[in-house]
């Protein structure tokens, strides 16, 4: 079912059918989008529930000014960032640093199928400032276009390109130190 058919269904009053179509079309994509930031299957699973509850509650206010696809990604990105902020604040309140914990999680994740270099790349990405991490992940791991990212993040294409370039330079420096 296409996005416009889904919206059409919703406007005809078939809200649950429209929602189920969104789940069918987007749940897997949004899972991988969240997973690339959160680095934990369990946290991603919890977030997926929260994201789709938000989607269900926000559907009445969806206007066709943006595409359904970018609207869904925006909700998923915002919920993921909220989750990461909470983790950071919780860690700060408990006087611990998150970076070693995240690196540990990447190192010990049994579901990661990559090699050592790819693991170090993930760790380097986890160290980037939030904006650069977002842009790099969406561009490199998810192959999103700058135009799509601009719509999702509400940032200009130029600023996104600059963020990506800076992230690449930082990651190159990080990986060159490691290997």
């Amino acid at each position: 079912m296409t996005d416009s058919e889904i919206i059409g269904l919703y406007r005809e009053g078939q809200q649950e059918r429209a929602f189920n179509a969104i789940v069918e079309n987007y749940s897997e994509r949004l899972y991988w989008h969240v997973r690339s930031f959160v680095c934990s299957h369990e946290d991603t699973d919890d977030l997926m529930q929260e994201i789709f509850i938000k989607v269900w509650n926000s559907l009445p206010s969806f206007r066709s000014e943006s595409r359904l696809y970018t609207w869904l990604y925006r909700i998923a990105t915002n919920e993921t960032l909220n989750h990461l902020h909470k983790q950071k604040v919780r860690a700060a309140l408990q006087f611990r640093s998150l970076t070693p914990e995240i690196e540990n999680r990447i190192e010990e994740d049994p579901s990661f199928n990559g090699d050592e270099l790819q693991k170090e790349l993930m760790k380097g990405v986890a160290r980037l400032p939030e904006k650069q991490r977002l842009v790099f992940t969406m561009k490199y791991f998810e192959d999103l276009t700058y135009e799509d990212m601009s719509e999702i993040l509400g940032t200009s294409v130029g600023a996104l390109k600059a963020s990506y370039h800076i992230a690449v330079e930082k990651l190159k420096a990080y990986l060159e130190k490691k290997f």
Partner: protein
């Protein structure tokens, strides 16, 4: 022509795996959301802001009452300077802004309904960043 991304093109992306059947069970669970949400009212903006507005109104009322009491008990141009200074000290006790860092670290009882999650949610909603908490901790360490 070599691009800046060559180092990553050689690395590739790596991948994660998920448990067998995970996405089917995920879709099933997510599909139950409309049913589980029926009857629940999504909180409106006013419902979420109401407790903070009530707190702000109480604080404002206390300020106004304090100001009225102090202005009624002050002697104007014949007021004792010592009493005026005492009044200021009394006032400053109501508004402890001299040690803002302490407001983040005061001892609290783990009272009924006040969990760590409540504190974290409050700090996030008021825009406190992890960097500000770290700075507050540093300030506390240097002044102790």
């Amino acid at each position: 022509m070599k691009t800046g991304n060559d180092i990553f093109e050689h690395i590739g992306k790596g991948s994660f795996s998920v448990p067998d059947g995970y996405f089917d069970s995920l879709k099933e669970r997510l599909g139950r959301i409309p049913e589980e949400s029926s009857g629940a009212i999504a909180p409106t903006l006013w419902m979420r802001v109401k407790p903070y507005a009530a707190l702000a109104a109480c604080f404002l009322a206390a300020l106004v009452a304090g100001k009225l009491i102090l202005s009624n008990t002050a002697g104007g141009s014949h007021a004792d300077p010592l009493m005026e200074e005492y009044g200021e000290l009394f006032y400053s006790d109501l508004i402890p802004v001299t040690q803002p860092a302490e407001s983040l670290f005061y001892e609290y009882e783990s009272a009924e309904g006040v969990s760590e999650d409540d504190i974290i949610n409050y700090l996030i909603e008021t825009g406190t960043t992890a960097e500000q908490l770290a700075m507050a901790d540093l300030h506390k360490q240097t002044t102790e």
